[in-house]
Every structure is written in structure tokens, then in C-alpha cells.
Amino acid sequence: PGAEKWLTNTFTQTCAVRPSRHSTFTHSTSATGYNMLTKHEKELIAKIWDKMIPVASDIGAECLLRMMTTFPGTKTYFAHLDIRPGSPHLRSHGKKIVLAIAECSKDISSMMVTLAPLQTLHAYKLRIDPCNFKLLCHCILVTLAAHMGDEFNPVAHAAMDKYLSAFAAVLAEKYR
């Protein structure tokens, strides 16, 4: 279990979130509800996202804005939207993302089922290079830290990073 955990962590940390060679890997961890997360960590994650639901537009917009400001290449996916700070597009798009992440956090073991439609959307329609998921995940962590201060302690940070990495990996599963 230690080696698997190490490998899964390394796998989800690298940019190459390519499903083909590693799909059995992701499948085994996904199907068993992510051995990476303890019961306590899953509760922690669900609790944090539950608090974000009422402010989903604010949080979501901030995550996206942080990502596009820090990693300008990500703006290329938003050429069709108004992405200026405060724009309604940014808020509505950010809200969708936050709500999807929050919804999934309520039952992490069922992630594969919950995310199936979004997997299809990202693979066949959006085709966002999975490298970018990591960038947004990082900006989500920064946003959470800025809003939660000390409450976003190392244990919460570790749990959240694992959850978001798993989320991103599942999202990329249907790419090829």
C-alpha cells in the first residue's frame, strides 16, 4: 500500500495525466474510492467544500482569475468569454466548476460515476490539455488558503491536494 500510494501521488503530480498506459491504475484506485484518502480526510474535504457552496461564484471566479493571471497560457481556452475581473462570465463559469467539485466531495467514492458526463465533455468537446488541470488545482489551493487562513493547515492542504489531483485524473480519463 505504501508503494501504491507513492506511485499514485507521483502519477497525479506529473503533467502526464495520460489515461492509456495508466488507466488500469486509475481504475483500481477510482473503483475502490481512492485509497489515498482516509475517512477523516474525506470528511474534512466535504466540510470545506460545503462552506464554499453559498459563495461558489466568488470563489470560482477568484480561482479562474488567479489561474489566468499567473499562467497566461490558460487564457487561450477562454477566448469566447469576457474574463475581466468581476465579469458575469467569470462568475458563472467559476460557479459551475466549484459546484461540480463540491458535489463530488459529498461522495468521493462514487467519483467515477458522478463525473462521467464531465469526463465526456472534457474529452470530446472542451479538449483542455490536462496539464492545465494542475494549474487550476494549484490556484484553488491558493484561493482556499487566502480565505481560510490558518484553518487551511497542512493536513487539510494535503487532503485537498490529493482530492483535486484525483478529480483531475478522473476528468482526463476519457481523453484517449
Binding site: N9, R66, T70, H138, T143, A145, A158
Partner: protein
């Protein structure tokens, strides 16, 4: 040579001027060891790293965290030649410490998140972008002498 706008220089200066090295240094290093446990491989001689609490209370880790953070001062004072500023440290990390250069990014991400936690809304998207640009230049310089 890296181009820095006046806004970027101002943001980076501002962040560092408010930094409590003895607080942020230890917090960043211990966070890195907790969030990315494989990084503990470089700290075999540092005592008890058994769990998150042990790591956060470990005085050797805390001291080293402060040292590492002060290492950034060199870049701050030489923003127009960060590459050469770290040539020696790069050789050290490669030849003597044998640190995988990917780890530098992990620590810099943790530092960013700790500072965000400290500064809250004052750590605006623009501040984050400037700070991360600064850190990515440092990380690149530290990895440069590896072969």
C-alpha cells in the same frame, strides 16, 4: 535576462518586506514534508518526522525552513541576475545533496500557499502572478547546474 515590470518588482518587495522568516520558513518546509511526504527522503538526519504533528514541532526542520527562506534573499537583491546568483547553490543541490530538481517546485508551491494563508485578500491575483514568476526563476536557476 528576465524582464521585470515596476509592478512586479513592487509586489515582490512588498511581499518580502512583510515576511516573518522565522514563521513562514518553518511553516513552508514542514508543509512540503507533510503534503509531499516523499520529500522527507532528504531529511533522514532530522529526527522525528513520523506524522504531521511531529514534523510541525520539529526544531531542526524549523531552523532549516528559516535558512531556506533566507536563501531567497539573494535573488531579491539580484533580481537582474538570478541565474548566476544561484550557480553555486545549484551545484551544491545537485552534486552534494542530490535533490531532484522537481522538488524545488513543490516547496515553492507550499511557500506560495503559506503566504496566501498569511496575507489573505492582500495576496491578489497580480501579487500571486509576480511572486510565482519570481519563484519560477529561482527554481530554474537552482536546477541549471544539474547534468
Amino acid at each position: 535576462m528576465v524582464e521585470w515590470t515596476d509592478e512586479e518588482r513592487a509586489a515582490i518587495s512588498d511581499i518580502f518586506s512583510k515576511l516573518d522568516y522565522d514563521d513562514i520558513g518553518p511553516k513552508s518546509l514542514s508543509r512540503c514534508l507533510i503534503v509531499y511526504p516523499w520529500t522527507q527522503r532528504y531529511f533522514g538526519g532530522f529526527g522525528n518526522l513520523y506524522n504531521a504533528e511531529a514534523i510541525m514541532n520539529n526544531p531542526l526542520i524549523a531552523k532549516h525552513g528559516t535558512t531556506v527562506l533566507h536563501g531567497l534573499d539573494r535573488a531579491l537583491k539580484n533580481m537582474d541576475d538570478i541565474k548566476n546568483t544561484y550557480a553555486e547553490l545549484s551545484v551544491l543541490h545537485s552534486e552534494k545533496l542530490h535533490v531532484d530538481p522537481d522538488n524545488f517546485k513543490l516547496l515553492s508551491d507550499c511557500l506560495t500557499i503559506v503566504i496566501a494563508g498569511k496575507m489573505g485578500n492582500a495576496f491578489t491575483p497580480e501579487y500571486q502572478a509576480s511572486f510565482q514568476k519570481f519563484l519560477s526563476v529561482v527554481v530554474s536557476a537552482l536546477g541549471r547546474q544539474y547534468h
